[in-house]
Amino acid sequence: MLMSLENLLSDKRSKIIKKWRDVIVETYPGDTQRFLRKEKDQFANPVGYVIAKEIETLYDELIKEGGIDKISACLDNIIRVRAVQDFRPSSAIGFVLQLKMVIREELGDKAPMNGLSGEFRALEDRIDNVALLAFDIYSKCRQEIYEIRVKEVKNHLGKLLKQANLTIEIPEEKPDL
């Protein structure tokens, strides 16, 4: 009997996740990769921990067509970190699309054949959609950074001017003249 793609992907789960994690870790400089892989403590190595933990959940949700909320939360945890690191936007979120390559490599020629081509295409479409979601999340994180910067400047200057009595507030009610 033929295996469904979902079962096939479940069988290969640990290998695919390991390879996927390696692909992400390899976006960092050599000396950093060793640390990201070796240190398992979530407080000593929050970046490595987040990558390892979140891609597992992400993978499971992806192959079983999981909910968008859970997928968004996983993506947010990874991308929030990469959005403030030394990555171009494409490198920050490219790992999502790289999952396609990892799966193809791991399943070899089996996937498109054996009557799975339909399922396989659907999976790749899902990954493409998650990549678009990743783009939204990356943009949101960057937007937050800009908002924090603007808020800081506004608070700083606005408050000082007010405190020095150099500005005067418009009253809640317009006075009768």
Partner: protein
């Protein structure tokens, strides 16, 4: 006695050199979001710093003095002679890598040049070339390289990605203090006029006007009066402080951040309320509108500048004729006071060893400097049952405590803040042990890095701390991050907004004042932030 390793343990020692290949060939790229803007000429001129001119770190031409290499060489040589620690730290590092993964900037950025060992190696490599025979003869084989403009830019970029928090030094088997290497390196960059606007402007303001923002004495007084009005609305009591009062027993000095920036302002209101409470018990204290800054950004430029700015504390104490100095909640202010002030500007023979006028406790640890941290002062008050406290007023808070790097690692203030917090609120939860006390993770904005333009750097550097806060938020519902440092209070709100937006930031004395019960106060319905106290949500007055 240390444990002797067993033979099978010894055989497992990894003899491959841990670090690093190719770092000398990775040129520096100065990136927006990471670097702080260059200093302005007027600020350097005002304090007679060299090479004042307009410059930008992203320009190719940094407008260095013609003989800049000679200036660095002489500056390096001079400091090797003057500071034994620098000489030692240049020589003894064996690049074991124990510090490598302990820096919050490395952990958060993944940039190997933020490993403390490699950051120091940027300078050490030039030291070898210029000052060691091996380095002169063997060059790169001995880890030595020439200083050129690219190397200088690399120095600058990474020296201003270190908050001098000293977490790495905790793990160094030789006790190398990388913060001192950064301090030393920054001194060299300052010889060439390479400082940041966020450091140079506060230094000039502090030197001229007395505090980082250049707030003049009358505005300082206005702010405290504004707080007094607010406090009167909340408590029904008028708690006017004294300013510049000669003959007071104690002078109070706090970072100006507490006077002019939220949420530090609520901590400042806390001080005012505590002092009023203690007045009838015998506290005789004055604020100063001249010594209006506890912080010392001079410390991020050179020892000499740190000394000049620090001098006003003793000068004002002497002018007012006080007996000792009480200091507010701050971070690097206390490193300067605890470890440098006596050498810089002491001994303060005109002052006396601090004694609490309320409890009679002698603060023997402050015998040399005559200056005591307010958290010790308050912990002592609580220990001696001198404060009437109602901790349930803080029941809306689930609090965790961030050990600020300098008071924790620099002077061992670990228990006092926890003791105070546990007495003024009922819900306290510790972050994981590897992220607190001596091992505390920095806020990511110390040592003059809390500018706005380097926000990505701050978010990276603060990630390990925020990660631990997020953990206690998810596990216990923590919604308030307490600290005893003004820079923390400036840095954390932004950091939390990005990583754990459900968590707010407070100084410890804000919570003290919320819990403090005054004789004759009206029924308290709000906390110092104007939010309803627990159980008072429906009161009209809220």
């Amino acid at each position: 006695m240390a444990d002797t390793p067993k033979p099978d343990e010894l055989s497992k020692v990894d003899h491959t050199p841990p670090l690093f290949k190719g770092w000398m060939d990775t040129p520096v790229e100065i990136k927006p979001g990471i670097y702080c803007y260059g200093s302005k000429p007027k600020d350097l001129k005002y304090v007679d710093f060299p090479n004042p001119r307009d410059w930008s770190p992203v320009d190719d031409d940094w407008k260095l003095p013609e003989n800049w290499e000679e200036i660095v060489h002489e500056g390096f040589k001079d400091r090797l002679d003057r500071f034994r620690s620098v000489k030692l730290f240049m020589d003894i590092c064996v690049r074991c890598g124990a510090c490598a993964d302990k820096c919050h900037f490395f952990i958060g950025s993944g940039d190997p040049k933020n490993m403390p060992v490699l950051r120091a190696e940027l300078i050490r490599s030039v030291y070898r070339k210029k000052f060691t025979t091996g380095g002169k003869l063997l060059g790169r084989f001995a880890g030595a390289r020439e200083l050129d403009e690219d190397v200088l830019k690399e120095w600058w970029y990474y020296l201003y990605q270190c908050t001098e928090c000293r977490r790495c030094s905790l793990f160094c088997p030789y006790g190398i203090d990388t913060a001192e290497i950064t301090i030393f390196g920054r001194e060299l960059t300052n010889l060439l006029g390479l400082n940041t606007d966020w450091v140079a402007a506060p230094v000039a303001n502090c030197y001229r006007t007395g505090n980082h923002l250049g707030i003049q004495p009358h505005a300082y007084k206005d702010m405290l009066e504004f707080f007094t009005d607010e406090i009167e609305d909340i408590t029904g009591l008028r708690m006017d402080p004294d300013y510049n009062r000669k003959g007071a027993e104690i002078l109070f000095i706090t970072p100006s951040g507490d006077v002019f920036a939220d949420p530090g302002t609520f901590t400042c209101m806390g001080y005012l309320m505590l002092f009023y409470y203690l007045k009838s018990l015998g506290l005789d204290i004055t604020w100063s509108t001249y010594a209006s800054e506890g912080g010392n950004f001079g410390f991020f430029t050179s020892h000499e500048m740190a000394k000049r700015l620090n001098a006003k504390m003793y000068a004002e104490a002497e002018r007012l004729g006080v007996k000792w100095i009480l200091g507010g909640e701050c971070g690097h202010m206390w490193r300067v006071i605890n470890q440098y002030m006596d050498t810089f500007n002491g001994p303060p023979d005109f002052l006396e060893e601090p004694v609490s006028p309320i409890t009679g406790t002698k603060f023997e640890n402050a015998k040399a400097t005559k200056m005591t941290h307010i958290i010790e002062f308050t912990a002592d008050l609580i220990r001696n049952n001198k404060l009437k406290l109602e901790p349930s007023r803080n029941d809306n808070l689930k609090v965790t405590f961030h050990d600020s790097c300098n008071p924790a690692r620099g002077m061992g203030i670990l228990e006092e803040p926890r003791y105070v917090i546990k007495n003024v609120c009922n819900n306290f939860y510790e972050m994981p042990p590897s992220t607190i006390r001596e091992q505390t993770f920095c806020c990511g904005g110390g040592a003059g890095l809390n500018a706005g333009e380097d926000m990505e750097l701050r978010m990276r550097g603060g990630l390990p701390r925020a990660n631990a806060v997020k953990y206690v938020h998810e596990k216990y519902g923590v919604n308030m991050l307490a600290c005893i440092c003004a820079i923390d209070r400036a840095v954390f709100p932004d950091l939390m907004q990005y990583w754990v937006p459900e968590v707010e930031v407070t100084g410890v004395h804000e919570m003290v004042a919320n819990a403090l019960v005054f004789d004759g106060e009206k029924e308290r319905t709000t906390n110092l932030r104007g939010e309803p106290l627990p159980g008072m949500e429906d009161e009209e007055d809220v």
